[in-house]
């Protein structure tokens, strides 16, 4: 980016389409392509050296998703500001609809069958919540944040979907929604003591929440606390994952050579446990390499957030980055036995349609914040004319 164009842009934040494309954060796009490429390779390996059944479908979805990402990126951020609430309520409605007409899969009610694809509204909610919170905090002053009454609305915005998701039940997504919400409360400037109060209250509510958990969820948590207690039952997944990962060593067993994953000791290797497979075949070098790529994505996210002129853009970028970070952290911590097994995939790498779509939409929004970083948005929103 030349100094000249910087000046030009400062003068005129309203961009033409060509300029917008020029302004795209191509470094981030390259990272996305790299991560997806690693994903294809691992899915190829998961099928024992075959493009079928996972790698090909994943690639097709990625192609579609990538287009969508660009479209989302090029749309004016003021549009996203305007539709933030409608999108949030749509997502909330869909979550409610899951309760009524959702497809039961793997012991949980998470999907809506759209015929063409299985939609998982909780994935959309992760983005919608960030958008809604960003819009809300954008609209109130720094002083307002200090007033408790102004926190009622955002707490409801977080609480409503979290409860619905918890009921599905999806412990991982509920946790992510609460954490992303918390992160946004933090960066929006909620006073420290209130923040700590909420955390303390949540801690106090933990025993109550425990009773709302399903038996299998309690089991998972118990198993997590003592994985060796039930090596063939609930602890089997995590034990096998650790064996596969640990046996990979520093340099791994080589591409397509992962014995544990290929011999089916590793369950769900193409989805939640794909990092295990990568770490088995490519060792710690591969694992750290992937982690490094994600780290770069987060750095881009932070940079975009810090450089945005609008508070909405800043909060949106931060929320999306934290959201992405949580996917990565929870997934990897989970397969290494640091967190209980909750169904959180590795973004761009794990096999799965909705997650891929949601991730790319999120990245599209991040790119949109990046492109439109110099746009100012009035507190009450852009005028409609």
């Amino acid at each position: 980016m030349s100094v000249l164009s910087e000046i030009t842009l400062r003068r005129n934040p309203e961009l033409q389409l060509g300029q917008k494309i020029w302004q795209l954060n191509w470094g981030l796009v390259l990272l996305v392509l790299l991560l997806a490429g690693i994903g294809f390779a691992m899915l190829y390996s998961a099928a024992s050296g075959s493009w079928d059944p996972w790698a090909v479908r994943q690639a097709i979805r990625f192609g579609g998703g990538l287009l969508l990402m660009f479209v989302v990126a090029l749309i004016d951020i003021r549009f996203w500001f305007r539709v933030a609430y409608p999108i949030y309520f749509c997502a909330l409605a869909l979550l409610g609809a899951v309760e009524v007409m959702g497809t039961v899969g793997m012991g949980a009610q998470r999907w809506i069958d759209l015929g063409v694809m299985q939609l998982q509204p909780s994935e959309l909610m992760k983005i919608a919540l960030v958008m809604a919170l960003a819009r809300y905090f954008h609209g109130i002053t720094y002083a307002d944040i200090g007033r408790p009454t102004y926190l009622i609305v955002p707490l409801l915005l977080v609480g409503a979907p979290a409860l619905l998701v918890l009921k599905q039940p999806d412990l991982g997504t509920a946790g992510m929604l609460l954490t992303v919400g918390g992160a946004l409360f933090l960066v929006a400037g909620v006073r420290w003591w209130k923040f700590l109060l909420v955390i303390a209250a949540a801690g106090a509510a933990l025993p109550v929440a425990w009773n709302f958990l399903h038996d299998y969820q309690k089991n998972r948590v118990m198993t997590f606390l003592d994985p060796e207690s039930d090596p063939l039952g609930a602890g089997y997944h995590i034990l096998q994952s650790k064996i596969a990962l640990g046996s990979g060593g520093i340099f791994g067993k080589g591409f397509l050579q992962g014995t544990q994953s290929h011999l089916n000791f590793l369950p769900e290797k193409q989805t939640d446990f794909i990092f295990t497979m990568l770490a088995e075949e490519w060792g710690m070098v591969g694992g750290l390499g992937l982690l490094g790529l994600y780290l770069l994505v987060f750095v881009y996210g932070f940079a975009i957030a810090l450089r945005s002129r609008s508070h909405f853009g800043r909060l949106l970028a931060m929320g999306l980055t934290v959201n992405l970070f949580l996917y990565v952290f929870i997934n990897i911590a989970m397969v290494m036995g640091l967190l209980p097994v909750v169904g959180v995939p590795l973004p761009l790498v794990s096999y799965g349609g909705t997650v891929m779509l949601a991730t790319l939409i999120g990245l599209g929004l991040l790119l949109s914040v990046s492109i439109h970083r110099d746009l100012r948005i009035p507190r009450r929103g852009p005028r409609e004319d």
Partner: protein, 628 residues
């Protein structure tokens, strides 16, 4: 406006500060992941690598090939043949009943077979093969192969199964192989392989560990469900060693065939010089192949409940009163006590001791008898008289020197001893003092005396080989070689009986067959160039009552079979240089001259014709411990 700008700056500054704080927190979390990765993949990677191997490597045992059993010339008498089995993997067959229906067109499949297959399929995991049928003929194998496209999941598998080319002729010596029972388990894991078989009797049992060999191992990679993916490493086991017997399979087969004319009989042929058993057979026998497959309970009951005892090796486990074949030992004891061979006894047909009268088998009596005549004509009265002079303990002492009444120590399981009575023996076992009359009864091999056919053969060999105490053996060695020296067997110890005394016995036995008045003259070998000597014996199974004697002894043929006399014969050949010793017992066959001697004649004639001792046997590698 100013206020708004200030407000905006505050908000921005707070955001920046807290964002960097959040970034710091996230960095710590990523550092934690990295640390965990280091712990798992570097510090503990050896442990996990081991667990991973355990996960995927499965050790499977490969059953070793069982060693063969060979006769003295190397002819296999127990071998292995290919056993073609039909296996079915239910997972691939999908419709089990349809697959079995199609197989039933090719193979005989009973309803019981189908029920068993269904049971096994239900019990095993669906990728584990189930045996549908065993022992397929070549035609059946071909038919299954041709129809393979219509038989998904069906495959032919080749295993090894024991086979006995001589069938029942050798079964008593060889024993058989059968499924491993609880008491066979020694901790050797190969014994726990399904379908593994161990030696159950005879040579198969005696040398089982040597014949068994050592199991190989196959390291196979298995997936999480235990399905074999591929073989990683294979270590072939050590096949079992071959066992070389002293038997001549041809002679053995002949002896068995010859005995088959009798209901129950046994015969042993031995090398007089070293105790090598050249043939050992008894009838009835059984087909050892029936044990190799699953024996039916009906078949098992038939074999075990048969009063003729087809499972019993009568040559070593049948005990019989030796009858007159015992008389040479009484004579030897007499000679040793200084009784002159020319000492004569008058035989009026009976002998009186106290108020009891003991009869000679020849009612009118033999007249004057010396030792030679007494043996040749088997005069009882002569031996009554001599025995009374000797006492039973001297007779027992001589019999024991000839290996009677005790196990000979032959290398076969299940040998029985028998009884040679003494005063002390009777007191200890019956609790009564010895009666003088019992000495008389003992002297003609009746009463308490019980011996096995093998003991009688050993006795004969020792009588005619110049008084060397040979012991019988069945195993010559274990390994074949292309050439080399015969492992040396220590020469049998001298029995310290004078040559002239033994010569008297041999000459008398010659005359039993070849003399004008010998009891076995009817069995003289008339073929030019061949000859034999021997001694007949007849042992009573029942006590003849006074009333019966008064009414005239009932002829054997008129008695029920169970109560007829046993016919015995011990013999040797050739006369000038005895090399073959033989003993024959025909249970309830009547007199030794009529029932046993003709069999001995045929067997000794065949032995001399075949000349197994004149033909050099299979060379063996000397065993360690076989030093000259």
């Amino acid at each position: 406006m100013q206020k708004v700008r200030h407000e905006e700056q505050m908000r921005h500054r707070s955001f920046t500060r807290r964002t960097l704080l959040l970034g710091g927190g996230m960095s710590l979390m990523l550092a934690a992941l990295t640390g965990r990765m280091y712990v798992l993949q570097v510090e503990q990677s050896d442990r996990f690598a081991m667990l991973a191997e355990d996960n995927r490597i499965n050790l499977r045992l490969l059953p070793p090939l069982r060693g063969r059993i060979l006769d003295r010339f190397g002819a296999p008498v127990a071998a292995n043949r290919q056993n073609y089995r039909v296996l079915l993997v239910s997972e691939q067959a999908r419709d089990l009943d349809a697959a079995l229906d199609r197989l039933a067109d090719i193979l005989p499949l009973t309803a019981a077979d189908r029920a068993r297959i269904h049971r096994e399929v239900a019990r095993k995991r669906n990728f584990v093969p189930v045996t549908v049928a065993e022992n397929l003929t070549w035609d059946q194998v071909g038919a299954v192969e041709v129809n393979a496209p219509d038989l998904p999941g069906v495959s032919i598998d080749v295993g090894q199964i024991r086979t006995y080319p001589y069938g029942g002729a050798m079964s008593h010596v060889l024993g058989y192989v059968g499924a491993v029972s609880e008491k066979d388990l020694t901790g050797d894991p190969v014994l726990e392989l399904p379908g593994f078989r161990v030696g159950k009797n005879g040579i198969e049992r005696l040398h089982d560990e040597r014949l068994r060999g050592e199991a190989g191992t196959s390291h196979v990679e298995v997936n999480a469900y235990g399905r074999v993916i591929r073989e990683l490493r294979r270590e072939e086991g050590t096949p079992g060693q071959d066992v070389v017997l002293t038997l001549d399979a041809g002679l053995q087969n002949y002896v068995h065939q010859r005995l088959m004319g009798e209901r129950s009989a046994s015969a042993v042929v031995m090398d007089t010089a070293n105790g090598d058993v050249l043939a050992m057979a008894s009838v009835p026998s059984y087909d050892p192949d029936v044990f190799t497959h699953r024996i039916s309970s009906a078949e098992w009951r038939r074999l075990t409940e048969d009063p003729l005892g087809p499972l019993s090796n009568k040559s070593i486990a049948g005990i019989y009163a030796p009858g007159s074949t015992f008389k040479m030992l009484v004579a030897l004891a007499a000679l040793e006590q200084g009784i002159d061979p020319d000492f004569r006894v008058w035989c009026p047909g009976h002998y009186t001791l106290g108020n009891h009268r003991f009869h000679c088998w020849k009612r009118p009596g033999h007249g004057w008898m010396d030792m030679h005549d007494a043996i040749v004509q088997s005069c009882d009265v002569y031996f009554y008289d001599v025995a009374r002079k000797l006492g039973v303990d001297r007779i027992a002492e001589m019999s024991e020197r000839f290996a009677l009444g005790l196990p000979t120590g032959i290398d076969l399981p299940g040998e029985r001893g028998g009884v040679i009575p003494t005063r002390a023996w009777k007191l200890a076992n019956i609790g009564e003092p010895w009666q003088g009359g019992e000495t008389l009864v003992t002297s003609i091999g009746q009463g308490f005396v019980l011996t096995t056919p093998l003991q009688l053969a050993v006795m004969t060999a020792r009588l005619v080989n110049g008084g060397r105490a040979v012991t019988p053996r069945m195993t010559r060695g274990f390994k074949l070689s292309g050439a080399g020296d015969e492992p040396l067997v220590a020469p049998a110890p001298d029995m310290r009986i004078g040559g002239p005394e033994l010569e008297i016995m041999r000459v008398a036995m010659d005359a039993v067959v070849n003399g004008r008045r010998g009891t076995a003259r009817g069995s003289k070998i008339t073929e030019e160039g061949w000859e034999m000597g021997g001694k007949t014996g007849t042992s009573q199974v029942r006590r003849i009552t006074k009333a019966e004697r008064a009414a005239g002894v009932i002829k054997n043929e008129d008695l029920p079979w169970r109560r007829r006399d046993h016919g015995l014969f011990v013999g040797y050949a050739p006369i000038s240089d005895p090399r073959y010793a033989v003993s024959i017992v025909v249970e309830h066959g009547g007199g030794g001259s009529s029932a046993a001697a003709p069999i001995a004649k045929d067997i000794l004639l065949e032995a001399q014709r075949r000349d197994p001792l004149g033909t050099s046997p299979l060379p063996l590698v000397a065993r360690s411990g076989d030093q000259a």
